[in-house]
Amino acid sequence: MKEKRYPWFGFPKILPYVKKYRGTMFLMILCGAFVSLMDAVYPLFNRYALDHFIGEKTTDTMGKFILLYLCVLAAQVATNFTSTYFSGRMEMYVDRDLRDAAFSRLQELSFSYFNQHNVGYIHARLMSDTSKIGEMMSWQLMELVWNGSYLIFMLLMMLSINRTLFVYLLALVPIDFFFIWLFQRKLVRVNRSIREINSRITGNFNEGITGARSIKTLVVEDRMEQDFRRDSEDMRRASVHAGHLSAMFISLMTLMGSTALALILWKGGQITMAGVIKIGTLSVFMSYALSMIDPIQYIVSSLAKLIGIQVNIERFTALMEEQPNVADSAEVIEKYGDTFHPRRENWEDLYGDVEFDHVDFMYPDGDEYVLKDFCLKVPQGTNVAIVGETGAGKSTLVNLVCRFFEPTRGCVLIDGRDVRERSQLWLHSHIGYVLQTPHLFSGTVRENLRYGRPDASDEEIWRALRLVSADDVVKKMDHGLDSEVGEGGGMLSTGEKQLLSFARALLADPRILILDEATSSIDLVTEHRIQSAIGTVIRGRTSFVVAHRLSTIVRADVILAVRDGKIVEQGTHHELMQKHGYYYVLYTRQYADMAADLALEH
């Protein structure tokens, strides 16, 4: 995927989502800086204890000392809590808002977007990009605030205490930055290659487990294992290399800390002996020398992450700026309302006449017309069957009727009016859709069945279930309509899911019904029920069936045979059989398989 580059690493694009929380942000930065200030102040207590109590052998100010320490501690703990908690909140809220925005955008996007990007890709944009951006706007920002201000406060303290020693330590800062930056870059590169090998290993496991039957029948266990061992060895090597680098890095860092310490001990020791500074001051410098390296490391790694985050921002922004290529016009929205705010009071009924009027069509990502000057009148109540091999492009007509896509030229008329004259939501509210792989949502049976008509009563639900003879499916479940169907309807068999999705479509009582028949073979009893359920749901409605079953096909009023994306034949079963063309071949081949099945099943 190409990503557009935006100025300032894309941060201005995120600003609107952060603005809302500027109060929180201000507070968390303020508290964070205060925490750092306190952290930088603590060594001064040691200094006082060494120089005043021990140096002058007195405990006169001990009470005040403890009190002050406790005050600083209380302030530090309170601000620490506030800044971490607030940045946590900030992270979660920004995350949440970004996700809401992305999700809402996705509900408006056209089908071509979903055809061009797979679910995994979109899911990652919605879930992981947003959470990375959220993390950056809070934690990485806080890391910068904490460590940046800690480093600055330490340097300021040093400057105010002793200029000579300050200069020595200050000289080390850029050197430290340089080394850390160098290693960080290398580590990023190595880690990238580790991620690649890792996905290879996951792929291996996937293959070894899902391909078990083939592996066994081919007796390629040893071959698979050898290949796996090669990948796992690559992984081991790369990881050890990364481990070596990060070990060098860590050692180098502690070494730099100790070098600073040695330097202070030497130069500081000299001026202490000369009486310029006291022991306490020396100890303060020693602790600063040791503490300096950590914030530098964190600053570098936060900066690297901030730069790395621009990819996520770009992807997120690309999603937000994606324009639906099927959109309702302003006048239509004015009258019918938009996706989230329909104006149902202005909606008229849909009768069910469909007409394709000189339609040309090309998919947005295609380079060939799949429909050219296509005309077809489908009067209310007509049953259209679309047949063809898998992947031949049978769903094109369905996509046009549903206005998931719009014709390149010509128009699709519903009840004599161009579909574009009314809103998508209006059209969709009158269309029922039964998918090949029936899609149920996790939730109860009732929630699923009501999907097309949220106000359906239990009585109506049961009536619909009886009509498609799916009532016993629900009855045998533990909690009847309140039974959970599991994610994707996982608790039900495919046949049962199909029956339920018929009931769902029936309940919505659509004027136009789209049906994508299942190809998978199911047991004969369920098969029979599905056949009769199909008969029930299409009765009296205009229907488009992407058909695989002979009985469905034969019964249709119009059959369209599709090959390589184009409609090659059109007519009734009888006409097409006489023609002895493509449909004839399709039909006889399927008939042979079915005949054997039926003969033997009996």
Binding site: T59, F205, S246, T259, C402, L600
Partner: protein, 642 residues
């Protein structure tokens, strides 16, 4: 390849971890030793600093450790050091260098060990899974097993290489620094030591609480993620029902719930962090105040106090991490358990003294019955038949008639519940399993291709292959022309599971894959279903020519595919319905004849019949063609089949 995993059974988590640790133990051992050196060196520097402050700068030092005294003596006494303070700096830097070196050793050895451990775990798991019975594979969800092999392995790795070695490191650091602290001043050390159990206990409680609420937040995240997933996969249904607004609300509600759980978790964590600071700084205060008063009384020197404070600081973070380690142990325990479930499943094995008899013999199914686990009905019941060596044997059966089960049993993917299968005179149970499978080639209806090139897929079963062999096999499978049209030819990458190929191409690749091995017994399990009739005939012709003399088992719906077989078995609901040659069956088996008529002449006959039917198909009462067919069969069955 030598394998001995098979014999191993792991009664406990510990025993399995120990087994996985073979080859990495020494690295971890070296890492822990290095960590101890680092800890020791960590403790040296504060003493030097303390000494420098006391003896050199302040001239009050008394309590000088022997090694430091020896160093001072060697460089020419206190006065020499005082005038050349860089020597101390050099000593500190030198120790720092040594420390950095051992720190590197620790990290490096630890990584070596960790990566070796992970590799051993992965290799063992993968090899083991490959050799688990097919039955095990069909009983366990792939996603779950993959999850175990990836994220649970990582959890174990992190636990061993970070938490366990961290534990050893912290222990030794704690012991050593307590010794050093006690040598400086007993009561002051006691005051510091008092905080250790407090910090550990407190951190343990918190981590358990965090873990609990983390789990809850995780569950909510899972819910949110699956709502998104469902929304994206169900986008057609949502649009078609016009339910965008509902979906939006559903997502936003869950998004709110999820966010509130996380915010709560953040609050707990922030509280933990800041109160952790509170305890640590309180400890510092106690030491500072008590130490100062001791120093004023002369019980310790200023340098001692500085050293003591350094020791105390060294301990702070490791001790705070200890609580976490302990609470993570339970998490790792769960992961190890999940891996043990896989490792303790038994691999396929051969009976003692399994043989390798010649395979070009008759195959005899002797009263074989089979029932799948959890199934009510038998998939095969009392099936007896003989396949003569060198014959082409056809099996005709409908969906779910048990024809695939039959060949699964022959290949020993499953074992018969009753009866036996003989090749020659040998029960296949007594034959070495891999030997058996190597000599039986099987092409499945939905073949599984591996994510490699087309050529690699074909050559998969052979170690050394010349390109001509691949081309030959491809030619018999009618794949060669297709390949010529591909830009990279046999180097075309077929994608995961062969997604870039069509169904027919996949089937033909799988056929070539089998042919290259020239097995004595070849099984085509409905494996020509996705190729057109013409190619189907072409492949069969080529097979007859090139593979003559081998036993071929053809399984199909289509009589046209089977009619030339030497013998055809008609399988019906797991029972043998009829057997004979095509000509014989046409006479003896009415059902075979029926299918034949329907398939061969069906289309022709239909053209006439439909002209009548089509006239009244508009009415609801009209029967579709298949329905008629069914009724027709029912009538004929009554008389002939019973």
């Amino acid at each position: 390849m030598m394998r001995n995993v098979n014999a191993v059974d792991f009664p406990t988590n510990g025993s399995m971890i120990f087994y996985f640790l073979r080859g990495s133990k020494r690295w971890f051992f070296a890492a822990i030793l290095s960590a101890w050196v680092v800890s020791l060196l960590d403790l040296v520097n504060p003493r030097i600093i303390g000494f420098t402050v006391d003896s050199v700068i302040d001239e009050t030092g008394t309590n000088v450790p022997w090694w430091l005294a020896a160093f001072v003596k060697r460089v020419g006494g206190l006065t020499a050091i005082r005038s050349h303070l860089w020597m101390i700096a050099l000593l500190v830097a030198g120790i720092a260098l040594a420390r950095a070196l051992f720190r590197y050793f620790f990290e490096y050895f630890n990584t070596k060990g960790a990566e070796k451990l992970v590799k051993t775990m992965r290799d063992d798991l993968f090899g083991h899974i490959l050799r688990l019975p097919y039955k095990w594979h069909s009983e366990n969800a792939a996603g779950d097993i993959i999850q175990r092999c990836t994220s649970d392995v990582d959890t174990v790795k992190v636990f061993v290489s970070e938490q366990m070695t961290g534990l050893f490191r912290t222990m030794i650091l704690m012991v050593l620094s307590l010794i050093f602290m006690f040598r400086i001043h007993t009561y002051l050390a006691l005051a510091s030591a008092f905080f250790i159990p407090v910090i550990i206990g407190y951190s343990l409680i918190f981590h358990n609480r965090i873990a609990a609420s983390f789990e809850k937040a995780d569950v909510e995240e899972g819910r949110l993620s699956s709502i998104a997933q469902e929304n994206l996969t169900g986008v057609r249904v949502i649009r078609a029902f016009g339910r965008e607004a509902y979906e939006k609300k559903r997502f936003e509600d869950q998004n709110r719930t999820y966010t509130s759980y996380w915010v709560r978790l953040m609050r707990t964590m922030s509280f933990f962090w800041s109160s952790g600071d509170l305890v640590s700084y309180l400890q510092t205060l106690v030491i500072l105040v008590y130490g100062s008063s001791l120093a004023i009384r002369g019980a310790i020197t200023a340098g001692d106090l500085i050293a003591f404070i350094s020791y105390n600081e060294l301990l702070t973070f490791p001790v705070r991490a200890l609580g976490r380690t302990i609470s993570e142990m339970s998490k790792a325990g769960i992961s190890i358990d999940r891996l043990r479930y896989i490792m303790n499943a038994h691999e396929e094995n051969d009976l003692p003294g399994a043989v390798t008899p010649p395979m070009d013999r008759d195959i005899f199914f002797d009263h074989v019955s089979f029932r799948y686990e959890n199934a009510n009905a038998k998939a095969l019941s009392d099936v007896t038949f003989r396949i003569h060596a060198g014959n082409v044997f056809g099996i005709l059966g409908g969906t779910g008639s048990g024809k695939s089960t039959l060949v699964h049993l022959l290949d020993r993917l499953y074992e018969p519940s009753e009866g036996r299968i003989l090749i020659g005179d040998t029960d296949i149970k007594a034959i070495q399993r891999l030997y058996l499978r190597e000599h039986i080639g099987m092409v499945l209806q939905e073949p599984y291709l591996f994510s490699r090139t087309l050529g690699d897929n074909i050559a998969m079963t052979k170690d050394e292959v010349v390109p001509e062999e691949i081309a030959d096999a491809a030619r018999i499978a009618s794949l060669d022309e297709t390949v010529q049209h591909m830009r990279s030819g046999y180097d075309t990458y077929v994608g995961e599971r062969g997604v870039t190929l069509s169904g027919g191409q996949k089937q033909r690749t799988a056929i070539a894959q089998m042919l290259i091995k020239k097995p004595e017994i070849m099984i085509f399990d409905d494996s020509l279903s996705a190729v057109d009739a013409e190619t189907d005939a072409k492949i069969r012709e080529a097979l007859q020519e090139k593979m003559a003399g081998r036993t071929v088992i053809l399984i199909s719906h289509r009589i046209s595919t089977l009619m030339q077989a030497d013998s055809i078995l008609v399988l019906d609901h797991g029972k043998v319905a009829a057997q004979g040659t095509h000509e014989e069956l046409l006479v003896t088996s009415p059902i075979y004849k029926k299918i034949f008529d329907l398939q061969m002449q069906g289309a022709e006959e239909m053209k006439q019949a439909d002209s009548i039917q089509i006239l009244n198909h508009g009415e609801g009462s009209a029967q579709s063609r298949p329905e008629k067919l069914m009724n027709h069969l029912e009538e004929s069955k009554g008389g002939n089949m019973a």
